[in-house]
């Protein structure tokens, strides 16, 4: 049973332009920010394309399922996140969940965690918290 201070299982995702393009097809979001490789080369802020925000969240979604040994988070699981920095093609992003508290709600034991998703350059891309029901 996890204790306060424990780091739970993490998941990673290698983000490529191909993945971003395919994601655009599925969700219909062809914003030039995501898919116009040539046009975004000289973008004053991003200097290139960036991933859709929900791609950035994928590692923690997979991590929670792995932690709970399920393919869908258990009822009562919540995630509260803020987007902090863009994820770019070539980045590998990794989730990190650290237990900061434990509580009981509705008869369920819940782990309250700090949540981070960082890229392989050490930048925090997504930050927030998650409440997960242990397996």
């Amino acid at each position: 049973m996890a204790v306060i201070g424990d780091t739970l299982e993490s998941k990673s995702l290698a983000v490529t332009q191909e993945l971003i393009n395919e994601y655009a097809h599925i969700c219909g979001d062809y914003n030039t920010l995501h898919v116009d490789v040539e046009g975004m080369k000289n973008h004053p802020i991003f200097g290139g394309t960036i991933a859709h925000g929900t791609i950035n969240v994928e590692p923690v979604l997979q991590a929670i399922c792995a932690i709970q040994r399920t393919t869908w988070p258990k009822e009562g699981t919540t995630i509260d996140l803020q987007f902090r920095a863009p994820v770019k093609p070539g980045d590998t992003i990794t989730s990190k969940l650290v237990v900061k508290d434990k509580k009981t709600e509705g008869g369920k034991n819940i782990l309250v965690c700090d949540m981070l998703i960082t890229n392989d350059k050490g930048t925090d891309c997504v930050k927030g918290s998650a409440e997960t029901v242990p397996d």
Binding site: A14, N21, I26, C27, V57, C65, T71, T78, I79
Partner: protein
């Protein structure tokens, strides 16, 4: 933009909602509860496996729909209902999970304004006001059972009236 090869071609089963859409509103007119419409879709086993492979998810061959698919098809509905205002920046999401979505389920996603706020910001003696808007994306299955509630927050563009 060159034509991109597609793994998916998704047609929504339905797309519903009022004729007036979110970009038609001024900020002052945006009130919590305002109906942005929604859509319904079904997820096939083939799509689940393709999505899982795309995202490097080891859980292929499952009967539950990956969360990421609820997100991504929800976003598709958001685009169809013009909920993503031009140049608005995603600030954050709050996700609550309920019953799993299963392969073959008919999933209905409803969108509505959750909240709005103005935040004063001071930088180098200059005061500016940032406008934020939150949108509820509520998904249910064919039995009316809740699947997920996702509240998405956006920083609206400075040009927003």
């Amino acid at each position: 933009m060159a034509k991109l090869a597609q793994l998916f071609k998704k047609d929504l089963v339905t797309n519903f909602g009022p004729e007036k859409m979110l970009p038609d509103l001024k900020f002052a007119e945006m009130e919590p509860g305002w109906d942005c419409g929604g859509g319904t879709y079904r997820v096939t086993k083939e799509e689940v496996e393709k999505f899982a492979r795309l995202m490097g998810d080891p859980n292929t061959g499952q009967t539950n729909v990956p969360i990421g698919m609820i997100y991504i098809f929800g976003l598709r509905i958001c685009w169809d209902r013009k909920v993503f205002i031009d140049q608005a920046v995603r600030a954050g999401d709050k996700i609550t999970f309920y019953k799993p979505a299963k392969v073959g389920d008919t999933i209905t996603t409803k969108l509505s304004i959750a909240d709005k706020k103005e935040v004063k910001k001071e930088k180098e003696g200059k005061v500016s006001i940032n406008k934020f808007l939150s949108i509820n994306m509520n998904a249910t299955n064919q039995n009316g059972e809740k699947i997920t509630d996702i509240q998405m927050s956006f920083l609206l563009p400075k040009t927003m009236q």
